[in-house]
Amino acid sequence: MKVIEPHIHMIARTTQDYERMVRMHTVACCEPAFWAGYDRTSSQAFFDYFTHISEFEPTRAAQYQIEHYCWICINPKEADDLVLAREVISFIPEFLHKPTVLGIGEIGLNLNTVNEMTIFQEQVELALKYEQLIWIHTPHLKDKLKGTRMMLDYLKGHGKVNPEKVCFDHCEEHTLKMIVDAGFWAAMTIYPVTKNSPPRVVDALETYGIDHMLVDASGDWGPSDPGTLHDAIFEMKKRGHKEEHMETVFYNNPCYFLGQCKKFRPSPSLPKEKAWAV
C-alpha cells in the first residue's frame, strides 16, 4: 500500500528518514513552511528557507524515489511582527509558480494574538488572489480550542473561501467536529506527548468517518517520527479495519485534497465517492 505524508519538515530530518519512508512505501511528502526552532533575523532568511524547501529538498527526496512538495507562507510563530511578516508576504508570490509549491501554508495562530490574526487574514487573501490551496496550523495545547474557533469563524464568515480547498491541521477530539461540520478538510498529527497518538487518530476516524480526513507525522526538529504514520496503519489493522479504508486515509485522501493543485502528481486508486462509501 502506497502512503503519502501530508506534513513533514524534512529540512530538519536526516537522509535516513527518507530511506525509512521509502522502505515504508511513502511515495510523496509535503513540507509546509514553518518556524525553524528559533526566530529568523530578517526576511532574507525566509527567502533562503523558501528556496531550500522548493528547490533543494525535492532533489534530496528524489534520490529516494519520493516526490517532495511544499507550502509557502510566514508561519504563525513569527507573524506577530507585522513589519517582518509583510516583508515576507511581499515575495511569497515569486515562489507560488514553482513546480512543487502546492499553496499557502502552514498559516494560522500560535498564541491567538491580534497581530497573528491580521497576518492570517492577509495570507488568506493572498491565497484567494492567486487561487491557492490553504494549509492551516492550529495552536498547541490550551490555545488550540480558542484559536481554531477564531480561524473557523473568520473563514465561515468570509464569503469567498471554499472549504474544500482548506485543511486545518493538528486537529484533536475537541476541535474536529466544528471543522468537519463546516465542510473543511481535517488533518490529525501524530506527535508524541503534545498532539495525537496513533490509537486516538484511529478513534477519530471511527467517530467522524474517513472522508475529508488526513493523517500526518509532522516530523520536525522536536521529538517526532515519520514512522508514526505507519504505526497508525498498524493500529487500523490491529482493530480489524479493511485495507481499502487504510488506503483511503493514507493515500487516496491526500490525492483528493492535494490533487486540487494541478502540480501534485500522485493519482488516487479510486474515485472519492467509492472510497468514501463505508
Binding site: 491567538n112 495545547l141 490550551k142 490555545d143 488550540k144 480550542l145 480558542k146 474557533r149 484533536e172 477530539e173 475537541h174 474536529l176 467536529k177 490509537p199 486516538r200 478513534d203 476516524l205 471511527e206 467517530t207 467522524y208 468517518g209 474517513i210 490491529k238 482493530r239 480489524g240 479495519h241 479504508h245 463505508v278
Partner: protein
C-alpha cells in the same frame, strides 16, 4: 461539549470485549505512570506544597471525567485543559 456523534461512522470490527483485551494493559500503564509521577514529585523538596499547583488540580479534575460515566471523555479532557472560549 460532548458533541461527538454517538454512533461510529467507521464501525469497529472488534467487539468491546476484544478491544478491552487489546487495551487493558495500556490503560493500566498510563494511570500507573501518573500515580508514580505524583509520588516522585511529592518525594522531592517542597513536594507537598507543589500539590497546590493548578496543573495538578487539573489532573485531579481529569480523573473525575473518568469517574462520571459520561461519553466523549477525551474531548472533555482536552476542553478542561483549554483556554476558555470567552
Amino acid at each position: 461539549m460532548a458533541n461527538t456523534p454517538t454512533k461510529p461512522v467507521l464501525a469497529s470490527p472488534r467487539t468491546a470485549e476484544k478491544l478491552l483485551d487489546i487495551y487493558f494493559l495500556d490503560m493500566r500503564s498510563a494511570l500507573l505512570e501518573t500515580a508514580a509521577t505524583l509520588d516522585r514529585i511529592e518525594r522531592a523538596e517542597n513536594g507537598s506544597d507543589i500539590f497546590r499547583d493548578p496543573r495538578i488540580g487539573k489532573l485531579v479534575e481529569a480523573c473525575e471525567i473518568l469517574k462520571d460515566g459520561k461519553k466523549n471523555r477525551a474531548e472533555q479532557f482536552l476542553v478542561l485543559f483549554s483556554d476558555p472560549l470567552e
